[in-house]
Amino acid sequence: MASFMKAASGLGNLLLRGVGLLLFLLLWEAAPRLGWVGSAYMSPPSMVFRAIWLLAARGELARHFLVSLQRVLLGLLISVAVGVSFGLFLGYFRSLERYLDLLFQAFRQMSAFALFPVFILLFGLGELSKTIIIFWASLWPVLLNTSSGVRNVDRVLIQSARSMGASRTFIFCRIVLPAAAPEIFTGIRLGASYCVMAVVAAEMIGANAGLGYLVLYSQETFNIPEMYGGIVSLAILGLGLNCALYSIEKFFTSWKQDIRVGE
């Protein structure tokens, strides 16, 4: 009974959270049908979902989706590897950070989209420049969050370990790393959402597959429902990625979960 109640309230909760989305879909459906906006520019969601269904049936959706996903994951993976290791290094050696902070803050503000032409000049139109733009977009939040996570570790935790005779390696692996983990994960999730944004731009120039390509191509061929279908798919890709990363984060920082409830 209790589990049934729990399931029911979980379902109710989901419904409540979906209210906004549902209203939006209704409004979206109504707008072109009632002639508030031209249906040539805005397809109602019923048509969009039909277009998605047809794309899926032709196997095209999966192809574009997987190509984009692969690009996002590759870029994110490299930026996590580079950003986390470099961020740990920077956070640990504080004096370095002082010289590099302004440079990094400037890099962070430098739009990946603005740099795309530069990457194309340097690396051509192929996969390399696409990976690099995705990497660039996600590198900075990962790197800067990691180094700030390391810097913000409670000093007394380190002092306490030192007073027990802990080595530098032990302090780094067992104190600094786990203490900084929540902030590192926030950086990775932020980076992932930047990756999804960057992949669109990357696929709009010199690509023949991917969701970004699908959106632009459908627009150019006046297949408007398919264009919206591509946009919706991109949102789903972003949501799914965030969800997956959130589960990984929860697994590694499970001790944090009930703090929000308890305190």
């Binding site: 409670d154 007394v156 935790l157 002092q159 306490s160 370990a161 030192r162 007073s163 027990m164 005779g165 802990a166 080595s167 032990f170 067992r174 104190i175 786990p178 203490a179 983990a181 920082t253 001790w255 944090k256 009930d258 703090i259 308890g262 305190e263």
Partner: protein, 268 residues
């Protein structure tokens, strides 16, 4: 009796900025002398900023000293050592580890095997009466419980010098009194040397064999009072005539230093 710690002419100064924003040198310890005997409970009592915590940090290997000599067990103080344990005012428990895992950390640093570690940690958890909290996280415990865990964590790896930096200062008055009695009970069982820093005269007298009273600004020991109260001590000791007499004596010595520390704070 053997000397556990011998501090001779120890000086420590910090670079600070004064109220005008100019660089200044703040001398915290100035030719500081102190002997701690093997197996005794020694408290250092003094006004804020008198350097008592700095001395503790130096002994814990967390701070340097500019001049003087410090011997621990007749050897020059080492920066890294397995023989000392420090208890902090803010508990310093690792929030991502359960109570039991927190108790294990000192043993982990000493590369003791997992199974043995668990066993020792459980034993000490039982000693502080928190066995049923083994799998809770620190944030789920009260302040008093957290400090008990922090003390047990240090005891678990059996250091022979315990350093306590105002361990009960963050607790409410009642919890604080219970913790004092609990610490006495634990200490009287194996009599490890304890160096205890506090603001509270009552706490220092109740717990200690000797109380060192520090001067406000010159960073030296003004006088050491012997506490001859009977052991094992209980709650009742607080009401005894002897306790009140020592309290008055200690307050007499401390009063001027506190006033001086305050007037100094106003000037800065």
């Amino acid at each position: 009796m053997n000397a556990k710690v011998q501090a001779r002419q120890v000086s420590r100064a910090f670079q600070v900025r004064n109220s005008l924003g100019k660089k200044d040198v703040l001398t915290v310890l100035d030719h500081f002398d102190l002997d701690v005997r093997e197996g005794e409970f020694l408290s250092i009592l003094g006004p804020s900023g008198c350097g008592k915590s700095t001395f503790l940090n130096i002994l814990a290997g967390l701070d340097d000293y500019d001049q003087g000599d410090i011997l621990v067990d007749q050897e020059v103080l080492k920066k890294r050592s397995f023989d000392r344990g420090m208890v902090f005012q803010s508990y310093a428990l690792l929030p991502w580890r359960t109570v039991l895992e927190n108790l294990e950390i000192g043993l982990e640093i000493r590369s003791i095997r997992k199974k043995e570690r668990r066993e020792i940690a459980r034993r000490y958890l039982g000693m502080i009466g928190l066995s049923s909290f083994a799998n809770q996280y620190p944030h789920q415990l009260s302040g008093g419980m957290r400090q008990r865990v922090a003390i047990a964590r240090v005891l678990a790896y059996q250091p022979n010098l315990l350093l306590m930096d105002e361990p009960f200062a963050a607790l409410d008055a009642q919890t604080r009194e219970t913790m004092q009695i609990e610490l006495l009970r634990i200490w009287e069982a194996d009599r490890k040397t304890i160096l205890f820093v506090t603001h509270s005269i009552d706490e220092a007298i109740l717990l200690s064999d000797r109380v060192a009273i520090m001067t406000a600004r010159t960073g030296q020991v003004k006088e050491i009072i012997d506490i001859d109260l009977e052991r094992p001590r209980t709650e009742e000791a607080r009401g005894s005539v002897e306790f009140v007499r020592i309290r008055q004596k200690a307050w007499g010595l401390l009063k001027d230093e506190v006033t001086m520390a305050q007037s100094f704070a106003e000037r800065v």
